[in-house]
Symmetry: C2
């Protein structure tokens, strides 16, 4: 492996464009941006020629189930309940920790190749996911999907599983990996479970990652069962905090947007998944924006997207918001880019998501000579509407080079092992069903 991939080395990026201006960027051996400027004087162990590439803050995916890359394309174009009960759940019942390890490695490979440096993940076998993230060098917030189904016995198990994961992740002492608590949703976690989670997350000073108001059914069921809309339920249980990321949020009403903004909750917009599963309504971005809420971007898992390319997701977000709210001015390119970078970084506590001295060096270099960037009238427009993640040449997370000129170390092994794991998983599930 080329030494440049090893990290903990100072690095000088020469001749990249930051907000359109040509600059050098010096990164110290702790992965912090130490200096910026034209013809920067400074010594570094490695020098990387930028060739005028656009330097962007690394993208941040605020809602994933990374290991579900193994289920990519396994079942599509089906009604939600049928898809879950006949296809997804039976397969997930046979998942092993090793599957999650390889699925998460494949997800990390895909994220690195499309410019994502950090993600917010909720799934099972999360210690195996952590092992994958550790090897791949991204930043991640990892949570165990807490589902008590309103049973006290199950709740005790989920509490134990959560505590075990948090302790294990903290003991890794990898500053790139943080634990969070992952209450699945109001329809799968009891108020008692939610209240415990709120207290525990506060005590441990860790994040909360939850699905919120994805479908109309979720809202209607909450109102009919609890006489409250989901946001109110979460608020009463103490779940709405500035450490909280709420995914989907398609069916928010205006008051709920205001409350999420007041509580400092970060919303994760997941447009491709919402469209594919026909949630019936797009997240009300215009209301959230007017209320001053933090809106970030996520892909959801690969079973319902079916990729992890945040460049594509920025475009789908900008298109969906315009279409759904009937205005071509909603979510312009610059705001889509901010959702995927600065808003995401702040939501996960990984810096401010900007390229500036003192900030962690989370950045990607986009090929300014790629066809999608020709001609060049406005950089942000090309990045959002024209390019896919394939225009990213180099990905750097906290100063560590994860991809250089589209080469990610270990790619072939990941492709081989993830393919093998996916095929074996389907075989186990099929043999068992037969």
């Amino acid at each position: 492996m080329d030494d440049i991939y090893k990290g903990k080395r100072s690095l000088l990026l020469k001749g990249v464009r930051v907000d359109g201006t040509l600059s050098d960027i010096l990164i110290d051996d702790q992965g912090t941006i130490a200096g910026m400027g034209k013809g920067l004087a400074g010594e570094a162990e490695f020098v990387l020629e930028g060739n005028g590439a656009f330097a962007l803050p690394g993208l941040v995916n605020t809602h994933t189930h990374a290991a579900m890359t193994l289920l990519r394309g396994y079942a599509d174009d089906m009604p939600l309940q049928e898809w879950l009960s006949q296809k997804i759940w039976p397969l997930e019942a046979h998942l092993t920790g090793e599957d999650v390890f390889w699925g998460t490695k494949l997800a990390c490979l895909e994220m690195i190749r499309s410019g994502t440096v950090a993600f917010n993940d909720m799934y099972f076998f999360m210690q195996d996911a952590a092992r994958a993230v550790d090897e791949m060098g991204l930043r991640a917030v990892l949570s165990y999907g807490f589902i008590d189904l309103f049973s006290e016995e199950k709740r005790e198990q989920e509490i134990k599983a959560t505590e075990t994961l948090v302790t294990a992740l903290k003991s890794m002492r990898n500053p790139r990996i943080r634990p969070a608590v992952g209450p699945h949703a109001v329809y799968t976690v009891s108020p008692e479970g939610l209240s415990w989670i709120a207290g525990y997350a506060k005590k441990e000073e860790i994040g909360i990652h939850i699905h919120l108001s994805e479908t109309e059914k979720e809202v209607n069921d909450a109102v009919s069962q609890w006489k409250k809309r989901p946001v109110k339920i979460l608020d009463e249980c103490g779940i709405l905090t500035p450490r909280t990321v709420a995914a989907h949020c398609c069916w928010l009403d205006r008051d709920e947007c205001r409350l999420l903004a007041r509580r400092g909750v970060h919303v994760s917009h997941n447009p491709a998944s919402n469209m594919k599963l026909a949630t019936g309504r797009a997240m009300p971005y215009h209301w959230l924006r007017e209320e001053g809420a933090s809106v970030t971007l996520g892909t959801d898992g690969c079973a319902s997207n079916n990729n992890l390319d945040l460049f594509e997701e920025m475009k789908v977000a900008a298109l969906l918001q315009k279409f759904a709210w009937n205005s071509p001015t909603v979510l312009p390119a610059g705001e889509a880019l901010a959702m995927a970078t600065s808003a995401g970084a702040k939501a996960l506590g990984f810096g401010r998501g900007v390229i500036a001295p003192g900030e962690p060096a989370h950045l990607v270099l986009v090929d300014s000579r790629a066809v999608c960037n020709i001609p060049l009238h406005h950089i942000s427009s090309n990045l959002v509407y024209s390019c896919s993640g394939s225009a990213v040449k180099t990905t750097i997370c906290q100063g560590k080079v994860l991809m250089k000129d589209r080469v990610v170390p270990g790619k072939d092994e990941i492709i081989r092992e993830a393919s093998r794991a996916a095929a074996a998983l389907v075989k186990r599930a099929t043999d068992n069903a037969g």
Copy 2:
């Protein structure tokens, strides 16, 4: 230039996967598929190792304004009328034939790199567009955008321009390039103009390319001015034929879907453009399908998309249809793939759009080891929902190799000249405005 790009040579593709089955494909020196099978015996001037790539029929883009790649990212996120009158039209007023030549070459480069082998184009300076297509080796149907604005004098000019183009294109004797007539829309072309077009297209045995019911305003204005919906106007003028491609079709009612189906018209679905410009309604695919209409796929011009990647467009189509019509089962992956391949090829008269002996060899090879194809549960799902055009390795049009292992001859010159032309165009428009 490598000899393999020269065309008119027989070619053997070894070890590609057609519908999942490993096969060789023999292409004769006329660009026709001569044989298929495992371990095919046959001699060819060139042998191309497929390495298990997925062989797909080449994609067909049935609605473009190719030269508008020069305007990519020039103006976005604006209300339609402001965008057109303040940004697009002032720039177009300064377009030259040379601009259209380089803009079309850039478009062809982008299409080749994302697996498109044929397109249906409407714009100005179309002889320059034809020169670009001729050099790039794709197939295209080219039409001059006929706009008479209900003036007899302008109509005579447009008739002359149309006749001149058709004569010029026929005299090129390039079997890959065909003329069509391009009436812009019912709100820009008089019934007299439409009737002339219908008669002329029939006499010349050429296609018709028109915008239809893109916005609600178009429908409302037609009803208030003519007491008829747009489809009825076109039908009375003889425009609805099996040689006709109607783009957009967002605001069709059920009766209009039925009539388009009966007349054998090919609808071009343009989901990204429709979403970006907030047309307010998605093309009613489910009705068109139920009525048996031919539905194809197009990107529209780069000013309103902003790329020409039909892989991305397939995904956006499948997502939009599900979202807009509130059902996750609408437009499954296999149908999206057929829209972009067989339906498009039939609409433009470029074969059946399938890989079979006797068919023209319009085909692309998609890297089966690309991350978007890992794991491989269902090929069509990965192609539609997971891959972008960057997974295409090789593009072949009528037996001529246009891209091999992502190398397109002449790429650097096109990037340089298109960039220069776009900058000069903006400068001319700005100098003139000042």
